[in-house]
Structure formats: structure tokens, C-alpha cells
Amino acid sequence: MTRFRYLSLAFTNLRRHRLRALIGVAGIAFGVAAMLAILAVVHGAIGMFERILNTDSDYLVFERKVSDLFFSSVTPAQLASVRARPEVAEAHPMLFGIVSAEDRPVVTCFGIEAADPRLHRAHWLSGSPERFGQKAGEIFLGSRAAEFLEARAGDTIEIGRGEFMVGGVFRTENGFEDGGVFMPLNEAQEFFHREDTASIVAVKLLDAASGGEFKAALEAAEPGVMALENREFSRSYNSFKILHVTAWAVGLCAFVLGGLGVANTMLLSVFGRIRELAVLRVCGFSAGQVAALVLAESLVLATAGLALGALLGGTVLAVLARLPDLQGYMAARLTAPVAAGVVATAFVTALAGALYPAWHASRIQPAEALRYE
């Protein structure tokens, strides 16, 4: 390894120009922090939505060729067909709707049946799952929704264009559910003018291994719907894909800015020490060694930027999770592929930013650089 010992000069050079190095580190750090925060939040949000759909289920059934589940309509006949399949243990329809309330432009509504397992799994603060759907005009609130709507069991509140009595309040771990309004399915269908349809049907199979058989049989019998295994659904759902792409695109933009910062830092570094690099050449450094030195400096910047960015991103996520307005909605999730992607992007960006400066440094002609001494 002695032949690479000259790279220790990279640390020396950065130490000598601390402010310049810090600017480069900050560029990468902000890129890392932005990317981590954006991706973690988006993945967390996707995860929460996935868990709403996947609660105690193996398959999701929804209308074929719809761009978004909010526009999906599964008819009563199709629901009956699902329930009639011998592979099916349980099938729970759910209708999604968006309404507004005072001071809240967007409130998610869930139309579900009284037997839906999420009601029984929730921690009830007032009321009980047995009461769900027993009385017309009654809605049930997630604890976060009860908080921002300032409602308690027994209150009458205005949701959208209707007035409803709050039948109970429960807490769930899922931020979207906890901030949602739950209505009996038939009331939600009427409220949202969806006739008798549901957005999706969450299906639990008697035997998870019979999924293929279930899917094929159902789609043959009901060509208007499709059944997707939960994981497959997560991979193929357009809205998730758009969110993924958007998050990566925004994160990459942040990195491009960071990369320009590194390029600027390294260019300044090279142009500011042309004579010094010429001296290195005179001392026996090859053009490759000089270029490697510049690239090594940018890699050190990237490593420091990664560490600082991870710290910064983690802090931002922790702060966001504690903001009263976002409580329950922030379930940041950092997956290994995301972490690997951020690390790779940081290094690729730093290297790309240092390529031209390194090339320039490697082409310095010692005699020319030292001539005007």
C-alpha cells in the first residue's frame, strides 16, 4: 500500500483549506440530507398507505385499468364473486373518499364494514367497535382526526356537506388511519355517490399458497377487476411509482447542486495551487497521481458530507416527527436500497464534480507553471 501513501496528501490539502473544504462538505451534506429526508418520508408515507391496504390481507382486488385506487369501483356482484371463491377466508371492502372540514382542506374518509379487522385491532379511546354501523349518521374518528377536528364522542361535526355524530374515537399506529374519518360502508357509498361500490377489497386467503389459483379464477370470472398480491401491488401501483420517481428526482436535483459545489470547490482548489501541483510533478508525481490526489480529496469531501448529511437528515426527520401538525403522518422509513442509493449518489456526484479539475490538474506543465517565478 506504500505506493498509495501519497494520497495522504489529500487530507493535508483539505486541512490547509478548511473553509473551502467545508463548503464542499456542506454541498454534499445538504444533498444527502435532502435526499434522505425526502425518500424516507415518501417511503414512510407509501408504507403507511400499504399497511392500510394490507391489513390482515394477502391480496387486493380492484377495478382493472384505473390510474388511482380512489377511482376504482368494485361492484357488489364482484365483491360477492370474491367472497364466493373457495380460497377466500375473509374479504373486506373499503371505499376511499376525500372531504374537507373546517381548517382542514383534506380529510381522508374510509368506508368499511363493521366486521373490518382494523376496528377490532385499534385502541378505542371512547366508544367501541361493536357500536360501529349500529346507528345511522354516526362516524368514528382516528385520534389524530379527533384532535384536529376538536371533536369527542357525542359531538356533532360538519364533514364536507353533511353533519355527523361522532360515535367513538380510536387510536391506530397508522398515521393515515389515525388522521382519518371512518364511516360504515353503505353510508360512505351514499355520501360519495358511489352507489354500491367499494374502492378495493382486501382479501385474506385460507392458504396463502393458493394465491395464484385465486387470482386466475377471479380474473377469469370477473374480467373487470384484477387481483394483486400485496407486494406485487406495491411494486406496480402507479401512484407509488410516481412518488418514488418524484422523490428520487427531487433528491437527485439536490445532489446535482451538491455536485456543483464540489466541482466549484475542487476547481478553486486546483486553480489556486497550479504552482504547487507543478512542484509535485517536478518531485516525481505522475499525471495520474496528481489526478488521483484531486479525486481523493473529493472522495474525502463526499465521505465527510455523507456523515454530516446523515446526521442532518436524521435530525430533520426527528424534528418533523415531533411537529404537532405532522404527528402521526411522519413514519420515515430508511430502507437498505435507499441508503445504498444515497451513498452511491454522493460518491458518484463527488467524483463527477472532481473529474474536470482532476483532468486539468493532470495536464499542468511544470515548466510553464514555474516559468514566471
Binding site: R5, R16, V279, G284, E373
Partner: protein, 232 residues
């Protein structure tokens, strides 16, 4: 006047040879060397003397592979400095450079500056440290190894530059006006040190200078005039 390529005493094969070397700048408009020739033998101290702009530094740079001639033949330590690979090999193993303005890296310490050539070569840490100590001790800078180059006086900086030139035990030192920016007394000390260390290390020295007193103190004196070299 003797031929600078064929010293009268006829001692061994030359270490560095330039034959009929031509060099111009500004697209041929400024002709600096016009068929310059010289030879330097192992272990000798040769002065390349001449007025400013006579072309002595240019000839030194060509021999050191820092620049390339328009035409002519160069041979240094058996290698052709016009070839990129040979140039690198020469700078790493066979040549040491001392410049008028020392050209140290100001923010690096004395030790870090001296060991730069060894870093390029991939020398071991202990080996480098030992060599730096020996050289610094010889020039009286052993207690200043941790000081930054920018905190040294002109004479001290030039002593560091001499140590750096000798770090990889080169066979030839190319010194371009090493006393040019020093006062008379310091200049004499630096010249004496260069001569003494080169002898101790058995390295030849080709010294560019415009000062007659240093030129005359060398083993041989070559005068550069009108782009050509003549033995005085």
C-alpha cells in the same frame, strides 16, 4: 575555448548530454537556444553561467524534462527526457531540482516538503522519516521539521529545497539560480551547503547562475551566450 561536450581531461562517460539543442518560444519568434551542447559527468559540479535571458534556465528545464526542445538530442542518466515515461523516471529516481524561489509548498511542514519525492516513489514511512532526519540534520534544520515552510527565512527555505532535491538520492541536481533571491552571505552559505551535500551524496550538480563568484567556485564553468554553450 574548449568544447563543452568533450572536456579536456577526458574522464568517464557523461551523466547528462545535450547536443545541438534548439528551443524557441512564442511560435518561433523568440529563439532562446540555438544549437546548445553540453555534457555533465557523474559527481562534478558544473556552472552554467550567463546573463538573465541567456537561455541557461531553459537548457536546465530541457535536461530535467520540464520542457521539450524544438530539436536536438538530450540524454540524461541513459534516458531521453523527451519521452514521457523517461521523464517521470528521471524526476523520480535520477534528478533533483532546486529553484530560485525554492518552490516549497508553503502550508506543508519542513518534513512534509522534504519527503514529497519519496511519497511519489511510494517509499515506506520509516525509511522516509530516517532519510528526512539525516538530510535535515545535515542542513541544520533537524529542530524545525514540524515548522511550516511559510514560517522559515529565505535561507532556511532554500536549505529545505536542497534536502527535498536530495531526498531520493538523485545522480544529478539541477539547480536554477538557487542563490538568486538570497543576500550575499546567505547565498554563499546555501551554495557551500549545496556543494558539500552533493559531494557527500555523490551527486553531480548543474548550477545555473548569473553570479561569477559562484560559477568560478564550481569544477567547470560553462558560459551560455547567444543561445549556445561554451566552456570557459
Amino acid at each position: 575555448m574548449n568544447n563543452p561536450l568533450s572536456p579536456a581531461d577526458g574522464r568517464g562517460a557523461p551523466l547528462a548530454v545535450a547536443r545541438e539543442v534548439w528551443k524557441s518560444y512564442d511560435r518561433g519568434r523568440v529563439e532562446v537556444l540555438r544549437g546548445a551542447s553540453l555534457a555533465v559527468r557523474a559527481g562534478e559540479l558544473v556552472a552554467l553561467w550567463g546573463s538573465s535571458g541567456s537561455g541557461k534556465s531553459t537548457l536546465l528545464h530541457l535536461l530535467g524534462g520540464l520542457d521539450t526542445p524544438d530539436r536536438g538530442e538530450l540524454q540524461v542518466c541513459g534516458l531521453d527526457p523527451r519521452d514521457e515515461r523517461a521523464r517521470l523516471e528521471l524526476r523520480r529516481r535520477h534528478l533533483g531540482f532546486v529553484f530560485q524561489l525554492h518552490n516549497l509548498v508553503p502550508d506543508l511542514t519542513v518534513e512534509e516538503n522534504i519527503r514529497l519525492p519519496a511519497l511519489a516513489l511510494g517509499a515506506g514511512v520509516d525509511e522516509m522519516a530516517a532519510r528526512v532526519r539525516v538530510l535535515a540534520d545535515r542542513v541544520g534544520l533537524a529542530d524545525r521539521l514540524r515548522h511550516r515552510a511559510q514560517d522559515l527565512s529565505g535561507g532556511e527555505r532554500q536549505r529545505v529545497a536542497i534536502c527535498r532535491a536530495l531526498m531520493n538520492s538523485p545522480r544529478l541536481i539541477l539547480a536554477d539560480e538557487p542563490t538568486g533571491s538570497l543576500d550575499e552571505s546567505t547565498g554563499e552559505k546555501v551554495f557551500a551547503l549545496l556543494r558539500e551535500l552533493a559531494r557527500a551524496e555523490r551527486a553531480a550538480v548543474l548550477l545555473c547562475t548569473h553570479e561569477r563568484r559562484f560559477a568560478e567556485a564550481c569544477d567547470r564553468l560553462l558560459r551560455v551566450r547567444a543561445g549556445r554553450v561554451e566552456e570557459v
